[in-house]
């Protein structure tokens, strides 16, 4: 379908990219907050290992991550077959798989940003809250989370942007199916394969850039509002 003067391919890819990016953030945010909190507040055996695993998608080639996901979540894979048999759920080759690919690639970025802001939250304030009758969970929601919010917002924007740009893991895991998994980067890839498509490719580049700008500006405005409120 054509919207706003965009071709069918463009609006398709744009809509899908936004949809996937939004779900990517929604899916990875709770575990990212949990893992960041664990790394920021607790010491335990294997902490360095957890840190390493979290960062793996950042250091591995995206294609490798994509193949890993395919092995795991494809219909023959251990997790994929279980999901299919128990829930009738297929993740590979669907937009849900694209969300998973983005979420895995974005996870380390989100954890880093959130952890940084949690490290900066004064633990003395958390102690004070305990003496005032707050349970550890209460402290987390009323103090830690609130004060770490700017970092969480940053993490969300980074995750969103990373998803918009995600290519290697996506095309390897969920393939390049128009209307289902063909996000902006994959559409762009297709255009570069065809001689003479530079014009169309450029349009997609412009759309992608505008999108990234909008996300960045949006987050900056939100961060400013939060800071202003805190300055009281």
């Amino acid at each position: 379908m054509e919207y706003l003067g965009l071709t069918a391919l463009e609006s398709d890819a744009l809509g899908l990219s936004l949809w996937v990016a939004l779900w990517c953030v929604v899916l990875s945010l709770p575990p990212a907050i949990a893992v960041a909190w664990l790394l920021a507040r607790r010491d335990f055996a294997g902490k360095a290992m957890l840190d390493g695993i979290v960062h793996l998608p950042m250091v591995l080639p995206p294609v490798v991550v994509g193949y890993g996901l395919l092995l795991l979540l494809g219909r023959q894979g251990p997790l994929g077959s279980w999901l299919y048999n128990v829930f009738g759920l297929t993740v590979a080759f669907t937009w849900k798989g694209a969300v998973v690919a983005s979420a895995v690639m974005a996870f380390p970025l989100m954890v880093r940003a959130i952890r940084l802001s949690m490290d900066a939250v004064d633990r003395g304030l958390e102690d004070a809250a305990r003496t005032l009758g707050a349970t550890p969970l209460g402290v987390f929601f009323s103090i830690t989370l609130q004060l770490a919010w700017p970092g969480i917002l940053t993490g969300m924007v980074l995750g969103f942007a990373r998803s918009l740009g995600e290519f290697g893991a996506t095309i390897t895991f969920v393939s390049n199916i128009p209307g289902e998994t063909r996000t902006l980067p994959l559409a762009l890839f297709g255009l570069t394969q065809v001689p003479g498509s530079e014009g169309a490719a450029l349009r997609l580049v412009v759309i992608s850039t505008l999108l990234a700008f909008a996300a960045l500006i949006g987050s900056e405005l939100a961060a400013r509002r939060i800071r202003a409120r805190m300055e009281g």
Partner: protein, 361 residues
């Protein structure tokens, strides 16, 4: 009533302390920086876990290493005021105050919100954000926040340490108000004698992670091992009452036991109990009662202790119907041939008044 003895090792530092509050309203924990007072306070509140020991409040065990009892901080109902106030920056003053109140069961709430606001003069601050407050204002809010949980015990950990002298004297009356109007026992942790003299009924002296002595304020503070005021000089404390005020020559006479001291006019009425602090170096000694001398306060006493100090001085303790320290040069001590049990006269040049426990205490 709190009863605690705990052991905790932190790196090279070993804390091994006892602390018990008596019937007094304020028990002070006195000791120099690094003595471990804050560590002990944190153990009482449950913010740190001792390695070993027992903490019990009003007969209920909060911590016991022998049977693995460890009540979490949020359930101990022990209020805590920190040196740095620790107001929540993302909440207004009002929300800060209500934070603990909201988490206190309705049946446990004994302290009235409006009462606390007026007691601590907080009504103008309610809508403001913590970042805009001065140090003194922050501490007042911190007091309010802590007492609004109707705690069974309130720990104040060096609450005035980060304030300058002017602010300290502004805030001290608020602490006195809290002490007088809310029936919450207070543990007051500090290294500042002046604050403790003003507020405390009982004192626990602390050094190097150990309890050194404990008992009623004046007595304990006069003990040998303790007593250095914030200017580093040893001092003595005397509890006296206002006997008479003479507007004529502007002097007030204070009575303690059968003795009298004369000081320049001070606020208060006849019958008020006050505490005096007398710096050891403001006390001179004479073998005979001097005559024709400007010093008004000359008291006879018997030497109970002579300690030679490092810098060529000697500290002499007298019994004048209460303990009194005098710091003189070693040369003078030798030339006067001072010995124990000797009867001498103490000449007191100046006296610092720390207001005491308030009327009728």
């Amino acid at each position: 009533m709190l009863d605690a003895h705990v052991t905790k090792v932190l790196g090279n530092f070993r804390l091994e302390a006892q602390l018990a509050t008596g019937s007094g309203r304020v028990t002070a924990l006195l000791g120099p920086s690094g003595a471990g007072k804050s560590t002990l306070a944190s153990c009482l509140a449950g913010l740190i876990n001792p390695d070993h020991g027992i903490v019990s409040l009003d007969g209920v065990e909060l911590f016991n290493s022998d049977n693995n009892t460890n009540v979490t901080p949020e359930r101990r109902r022990i209020g805590y005021v920190f040196q740095d106030a620790r107001l929540f920056p993302h909440m207004s003053v009002k929300s800060n105050l209500e934070y603990g109140l909201r988490r206190t069961l309705k049946g446990d709430r004994r302290v009235d919100f409006k009462h606390v606001i007026s007691l601590l003069d907080l009504s103008d601050l309610l809508k403001r954000g913590p970042r805009t407050l001065s140090g003194g204002e922050k501490q007042r809010v911190a007091f309010g926040r802590a007492v609004l949980t109707s705690p069974r015990l309130l720990i104040m950990d060096e609450p005035l340490a980060s304030l300058d002298a002017v602010r300290k004297s502004e805030i001290l009356p608020f602490i006195e108000r809290l002490r007088d109007e809310l029936a919450i026992p207070i543990i007051y942790v500090s290294h500042a004698i002046e604050e403790i003299l003003r507020l405390a009924d009982e004192v626990v002296v602390f050094a190097d992670g150990k309890t050194v002595s404990a008992g009623p304020a004046v007595e304990t503070l006069n003990a040998a091992t303790v007593f250095h005021g914030s200017d580093g000089d040893p001092a003595s404390v005397i509890e006296a009452s206002i006997e008479a005020k003479d507007p004529g020559d502007g002097l007030t006479s204070l009575a303690f036991g059968k003795k009298r001291l004369h000081v320049p006019a001070i606020p208060g009425q006849v019958g008020d109990r006050i505490r005096l602090r007398i710096r050891a170096r403001d006390v001179a000694l004479a073998l005979e009662k001097p005559r024709d001398i400007s010093v008004l306060n000359i008291l006879p006493g018997q030497i109970t202790e002579i300690t030679a100090g490092g810098d060529g001085h000697t500290d002499v303790r007298l019994d004048i119907g209460g303990g009194l320290w005098a710091r003189i040069t070693r040369r003078s001590a030798t030339e006067l041939s001072l010995t124990l049990d000797q009867e001498v006269y103490a000449l007191i040049k100046s006296v610092a008044i720390d207001r005491g426990s308030g009327a009728g205490a």
